[in-house]
């Protein structure tokens, strides 16, 4: 029997209640929107890149606790990281939430709270949506919009 606390760990509930970096960013030089048409979750990511480094990251949107907490925690861990480091984090995060195995040592320890998501296949996209939006923002020039139905 799967327990609710495996998915809804206290850190996730905390970030859902009080999301960090939950604000628009006027001085952003990268941004992207993520949308999951299946459930209607949507969020917007703002980044301020200083050279190759993420100087600031923020988000806003509406979604379930998993997607909101994932976005919130993500903004806290990518600040100060280079695009290359974030790309490796993205890959590790995907491996962790889909349960496909492989190294996840690029991932900051606190993101391990999302490991339980792999037991809930219907919720994997909730956790990964913010990361896909982040990736889209980094790979784009200016604005971008991604959907879980197109390649995520």
């Amino acid at each position: 029997m799967t327990d609710a606390s495996e998915l809804y760990q206290s850190i996730i509930l905390d970030h859902n209640r009080s999301p960090r970096n939950y604000r628009p960013m006027a001085e952003a030089n990268r941004q992207a929107e993520g949308y999951n048409p299946l459930c209607g979750d949507q969020l917007k990511i703002w980044l301020r890149l200083d050279g190759d480094r993420i100087a600031d990251a923020s988000f806003q949107g509406s979604g379930c606790a998993i997607s909101k907490a994932s976005a919130s925690l993500m903004t806290t861990v990518v600040k100060g990281k280079t695009c290359h480091q974030v790309a490796r984090m993205f890959d590790s995060f995907q491996r962790m939430v889909t349960g496909q195995g492989g190294p996840v040592d690029d991932l900051p320890a606190k993101l391990a709270v999302f490991a339980g998501v792999r037991e809930f296949p219907m919720r994997v996209k909730c956790a990964s949506l913010p990361w896909h939006a982040l990736k889209a923002a980094l790979e784009s020039q200016g604005e971008n919009r991604i959907s879980t139905d197109t390649g995520v």
């Binding site: 609710a4 606390s5 509930l13 209640r17 219907m122």
Partner: protein
Amino acid sequence: MTTAAPRAHRFDVTRVRSDFPILRTQVHGHPLVYLDNGATSQKPRVVVDAVANFELQENASVHRGVHTLSQRATTAFEAVRALLGSFLNASDPSEIVITAGTTAGLNFIAQSYGRSMLRQGDEILLTEMEHHSNIVPWQQVTQAAGARIRVIPVTDEGELDLAAAATLITPRTRIVAVAHVSNVLGTVNPVRHLADLAHANGAVLVVDGAQAVAHLPVDVGQLDCDFYVASAHKMYGPTGVGFVYGRLALLNAMPPWQGGGGMIQSVTFEGTSFAAVPTRFEAGTPPIAQAIGLAAATRYLQALDQAGLAAHEADLLSYATSELAALPGVRLIGVAAAKVSLLSFTLDGIHPHDVGTLLDLHGVAVRAGHHCAQPLMRRFGIPGTVRASFGMYNTRDEVDRLVEGLAEASKVFGG
């Protein structure tokens, strides 16, 4: 053919439950509480047996072969049409078109009736509570014709604003398309009233009956609708099959929709003459085994004590409504005076998907999200709802399990 429960047997939920083997399933260590009947209902053994028996003993294509099995299959398939005709009180079995389901049925009406008669400046009237299936097909044909869509608003209680409807239906209105029962709100709409309004203005009324057929007796004569559309799988039948009732005079004037085998009279490379109604609208091999299953589901429904079934579902609705209303943080979406046994709600501070996952961990299956009714979600200013939709086999004990699960969800998120 396996027979359903004998007639005139008083409605007995325990007996009904024993007809549905899936209800003995365990989910996450709990007995399944299946409250997602609005998405698809479970199937009694007689339906599954009817499909299996056909596939194993009687399978053949219809309308094609001269061999024995094909003739038997054709007879059985046409008997489904006749049964559905009497189930809906149609005046002629030819008024029943077998489809792949409600979505296919609505697309058929839009593409055949809509596309052939809509002109620039015409209007189609929908309601704010429609499922995307009763919106998108109309958008496709209005855009092509230069016609436009207007929308009957929904009140805070979740009922149609009939005063607005009366002014929105005008001689420009060609088609009024409305859900008999809302898949989100459970509201039973006043179909006959809308039919009268439509007809007074020279429009036809299309009724999406997907959410109604399992819960209400449907009499197309009394409703006076021009088209009535439904799916088998929401009325305890198989997926992949459904039906359209269409007034014979309208069907006879409608062009074919999809082209293919079975719907023709003769084909040359220069042109084709089409078969008569309704086979003109049934291109390709139909879902034969599924239609046999639909017939079994229809007979199963017909054999039940109708008054007892209605009373049972009304009791579930009133019990669940009062139990949920008593829970802190619950907001019911849709409190119409006339409802089927379906409850949509939100829980303060918890997204519907999280509620859905937490209930699932208690073995309670509900639907969470926008329910393919995004305009209605915008109307109520919410991203989605949790929907508990009841079927004939649900019980008060299962309502209690839902309430326990919700209390637990609040505890998880409140800590």
